[in-house]
Amino acid sequence: MGGHSNWPEWIYVGIVIALMTWVGAEAWEAERLVEHVPEDAETIIVTGQQWFWTFEHEDGTKEIGELHVETGKAYKFEIVSTDVIHSFNIHDYVVLMDAVPGRVNTVWFAPDAPGVHDIQCREYCGLIHYNMRGTLYVEDPA
């Protein structure tokens, strides 16, 4: 290639490829760990609709716009939508999964400390998308 030596370029490209391989491997490993839903996780059905969230616990109790969970337990969210695509997000716990009509998507988390966190919709879903928000209460078991 060209009239001059190209070895600096090859070294550089090699470094970039090595870096990308490393990033990819780390990401793959991390994702593999968080994919696996614990067996004993409690299921919460999350329904997104324009423009609020509904939560149904395993015992049948329903909450709208608020979600109460306990520390020390794992929860599996089964996320559905009744109208358009929404995206269920608890940013503080890096929980993010789209609510797609016609599908059930799952994601899980295990809150470790009591606290109050925001729940929001992160996929544009129309007029009140900006305010499709809720609150997560993590409490110690009674």
């Binding site: 290639m1 391989t21 990401a27 991390a30 358009v84 993010l96 789209d98 998507n105 544009y124």
Partner: protein, 508 residues
């Protein structure tokens, strides 16, 4: 090159012309017009988000329409036509042919843009530039959505016609004495991006038709109520528009390949690796579309495949950056306005690429996806790299097109302000995304960090706004009253590089 203002012609002669420089000029003016229109909407968005609560836009539907039209305008009506403008001017000259291969088709492709621009602006749809179903089927307001769909449809046809023209011009009309390996990199960039268009756009054309018939209620491809699947649309959309980001960026890189060696007064470090990286990008660009869809409920395997496909495109982009830096290394660099814009663009290209790597790492994407991080990431590309490269090239073309010189000081002020503004807006948006602010929201809760960062971003945007006003003033003033340019070597960098400029007024 044409010296439009030195030998004035009546406007209709240009409008009805099919000569490549005339069509190029039409593309150029249209594109810059839309830059200013789309840019004003951006300022409105930023002003609105300066504080929580409603500032200047009273309701969320208007806000949603504004960001939809803003995005659609700047991507399809500013960046793409700008690339066509440059391609029209330079590609025939670079392959030493008298015109584009199909001059009439070329003019037709241009004339599809004004009506589609009108459809998009008059419709003022609100379903974002993705038009995601089922929202775009069931609740996006009536004619607005349909007008957007028709507008995009026409733009797609126009791109395909333009792409055919570039491919044929470069491959079939190049001078027989010139091998394909001697064609300047700018022309190579058009060849690569045109090939992407020819593969990618038909997919979206199909998706748009399906969306339209879904809206009319005669089909249910993407409508779950009729057994369809909205995620299928997302695949079709991103199969087109992920490669499309390379259609946007590749010509801008090609423009930098033109500017950087000239102002460094050195040949390109490696011409062959430039070609290689273009071709590689246009192929690998297709392997990564679903990295926009990690959160739609994909399996672990699918996510892994698309992460690998995305990371594979990084070395190719990195090669361009290497080439630019190696070309400047030990060069006698002259920092005229076009060079400043190019170098600034490269710096931001690097920053934006690094952000892209973060998005591609799947667990991290759940933190950044659909937040302001993503807004920061792609704006750093579209504004920081593509628009910077385009503006660099605009300054570079200016003396050849008008026969006059722009005001250098104003050009530099324009650059410095835009560079600072771009960093303020888009780096801040990355951080804002990490704090969890979703994109496409009209109002936000009064979280102190969110307010502070939104204010920084708004101030940055206003700085860009002011610099663009200076740009406009410079262009208008200098094209009429600027000092006459030496069209042999307007920037005083010496030497003709690859091809002779023809300073004559073409009549066809």
């Amino acid at each position: 090159m044409v010296l439009e203002l030195q030998k004035p012609r009546p406007i209709w002669q240009i409008m009805f012309s099919t000569h490549h420089t005339d069509v190029g000029l039409l593309y150029l003016i249209t594109s810059l017009g839309f830059l200013f229109l789309g840019g004003s909407l951006a300022l409105a968005i930023r002003a609105e988000l300066f504080l929580p609560g409603a500032q200047i836009i009273t309701d969320s539907m208007t806000f949603n329409r504004i960001f939809t039209v803003h995005g659609t305008t700047l991507i399809f009506l500013f960046i793409l036509p700008f690339a066509s403008a440059v391609g029209n001017y330079y590609v025939p000259i670079m392959v030493r042919y008298k015109d584009m291969a199909y001059p009439k088709l070329n003019a037709i492709a241009f004339w599809m843009i004004p009506p589609s621009g009108a459809l998009i602006w008059l419709g003022f749809a609100d379903f974002t530039w993705y038009a995601t179903p089922p929202y775009s089927i069931i609740s996006a307001p009536g004619p607005a959505a349909d007008m957007w769909i028709f507008g995009l449809k026409i733009l797609g046809i126009s791109s395909v016609l333009g792409a055919i023209n570039f491919v044929v011009t470069i491959l079939k009309c190049k001078h027989p004495d010139m091998s394909i390996g001697q064609v300047p990199l700018l022309a190579w960039s058009y060849l690569s991006s045109s090939l992407i268009i020819l593969v990618a756009i038909p997919t979206f054309a199909a998706a748009l038709l399906m969306l339209l018939t879904d809206r009319l209620g005669v089909s249910g491809f993407f409508n779950p109520a009729m057994g369809g699947d909205p995620i299928a649309y997302a695949h079709l959309f991103w199969f087109t528009f992920h490669p499309e980001v390379y259609v946007l960026v590749i010509p801008a890189i090609g423009m930098m390949y033109e500017i950087i060696p000239r102002f460094s007064r050195k040949p390109i470090y490696s011409y062959n690796s430039g070609i290689f990286a273009f071709v590689l990008l246009s192929i690998v660009g297709f392997s990564s579309w679903a990295h926009h869809m990690f959160a739609t409920g994909m399996s672990f395997t699918e996510k892994t495949v698309f992460m690998v496909g995305t990371l594979a495109a990084v070395p190719a982009s990195a090669m361009h950056v290497f080439n630019f830096i190696a070309t400047m290394w030990n060069g006698r660099i002259k920092f005229s306005t076009p060079m400043m814009w190019s170098v600034g663009g490269i710096a931001l290209f690097f920053g934006a690429g690094a952000g892209g790597v973060v998005n591609s790492a799947m667990p991290l994407d759940f933190s950044t996806h659909d937040t302001y991080w993503v807004v920061g990431h792609f704006h750093l590309f579209v504004m920081g790299t593509i628009a910077f490269g385009s503006i660099a090239f605009f300054y570079y073309m200016f003396p050849y097109v008008t026969g006059r010189m722009y005001n250098e000081t104003m050009g530099k002020i324009h650059f410095v302000m835009s560079f600072i503004g771009t960093i303020l807006v888009f780096f801040t948006q990355h951080v804002l995304g990490l704090y969890g602010m979703p994109r496409r929201i009209f109002d936000y809760p009064p979280i102190p960090e969110w307010i502070a960062m939104n204010q920084i971003a708004t101030v940055g945007a206003m700085i860009i706004g002011v610099s663009m006003a200076i740009f406009l003033a410079n262009m208008i003033y200098s094209s009429g009253k600027g000092k006459l340019a030496n069209t042999e070597d307007p920037f005083g960098v010496g030497g003709k590089y690859y091809y002779p400029f023809e300073a004559k007024n073409p009549s066809h």
